[in-house]
Amino acid sequence: MDLDHKGLNGQIINDQIMNKNITDRFQWKDRLLGLILPVALLFAWQGLVNLKLYSDLILVPPLKVVGTLVYLAGTGELTTHILISLQRVLTGFLIGASSGFLLGLLMGLSATINRSLGPFIKALKQVPEFAWMPMIILVFGMDELAKDVFIAIGAFYPMVFNTYQGVSGVPHKYQELARVFDFKNIRFLQKVVLPSALPSILTGLRLSIGLSWMFVVGAELFGTESGIGYMMYSGREMFQIDVVIAGLVVIGAIGFIMNALLKVVENRVLVWNVSVEGGQG
């Protein structure tokens, strides 16, 4: 039969694997490049400390922050705060992202629902996240539910808009294909709409969990005695700048790790999607 065809295409597949290796290597170089600025800042920080222009209380040495981190981790205090914050993130995210997904799905499937809800949701999105806080405290008080709602609002928007975009953007040619194969309702949703919308939905998910993590610190501004945000506010009140900076480092690190993990999952799930491999950042 047509051996030359297979040879040709075997070649194409090999080329793709090779290209992937090349991009992997470049990514390593990029990563090293990304380390230059933080390392330089660290040296500058230590240099300023060495000049002894300010008291150690105001300009905390980097090693003191590391020491504080190790100490807080050792007492278990840090882990407790992180776990409580993560739990709040998870609850708020689940509420916000699932309602966002559901609404985005309905808006994507029905033009009527989109026309009746879309403008209102877009208008609501213009309200800055922290402007909700007084309202939330008024309605929900200061307890856990208030924090969950605050986080959920942040998690809601990226999910609703990205899901809508993915679901409403199913190419017409695939819709036609589904008609030819006589796929209706649930099967159409399951076999065509959701897979086609998946890249967009996963982007929404990643943005949504990222925002949840950002807003948990804000949510811990009020009415709580636990969580990584609380740890930092109490550190500020007691003028423990090392604790505040340790908190910043932890928040940044966890956010970075969550984003990276979700990106790995995304690439794994969307292995068919060539545009993902090209790197949308």
């Binding site: 297979k6 295409n9 008609r179 030819v180 006589d182 969307l270 999607n273 060539v274």
Partner: protein
Amino acid sequence: MSKLKGVIEIRNLSKSFVVDNDPLQILKNINVTFSSGEFVSIIGSSGCGKTTLLRIMLGLESDYEGEALLDGEPIVGPGLNRGIVFQDHRLLPWLTVTENIAFGLDKLDRKEKKHVVSEHIKLVGLNGFEHAYPSQLSGGMAQRVAIARALANRPEILLLDEPLGALDALTRIHMQKELERIWQLEKITMIMVTHDVDEAIYLSDKVVIMSSRPGVINKIIDIPFSRPRDRASSEFIHIKAQILKEFHLGTEYPFAYAI
């Protein structure tokens, strides 16, 4: 007596679209019968309504005058008894070759599904690519998968809308041979829309020639030669000249080149 399957009859069919509030007649008084097991090509310049005619047979277009009958029954909507291969392969990018071929096989159980898929992978010669994604395939291979997907449901009729139009010339000739082989194996009615006169003559039992504005059938030409056909034979060139003449493209002395 069992009735022959895969027969499409088009009777006095006319169709108009509304463009800028004016009705535009796409098809006018079309009469043609596609017999069981026949390979028929429909050729014509762009805008002659040949793709619309195919979509009517597929069941994607309703709202026309006249009749479109499949095995004596009016065509109402798409159905699994008609398979389609589009010009763009239209494979789902998130499914592998295997999963794409199994796309319409929901009603079968796992074992049957596996059997049907492997049978069709063999039929189109894609062994070894079962787990490749469409983005990893060349145009010709993707179109083979599309053909396998369309045939996996065992349709009575395979409709082909310029199936080889996006391929390069050499792959195209190769795929024409493959289509002929598959048609001879499957023994079902195949109706193909194409721009390519050579392709139509090479593959078809008869060629339906259409012209545009409004789309009408100019002529239906039977091609009775034995297969496989030789594109350089005098009978091939004679028929080609006859068809090109329908498009006012014939040379004045076609046989000067043929002998």
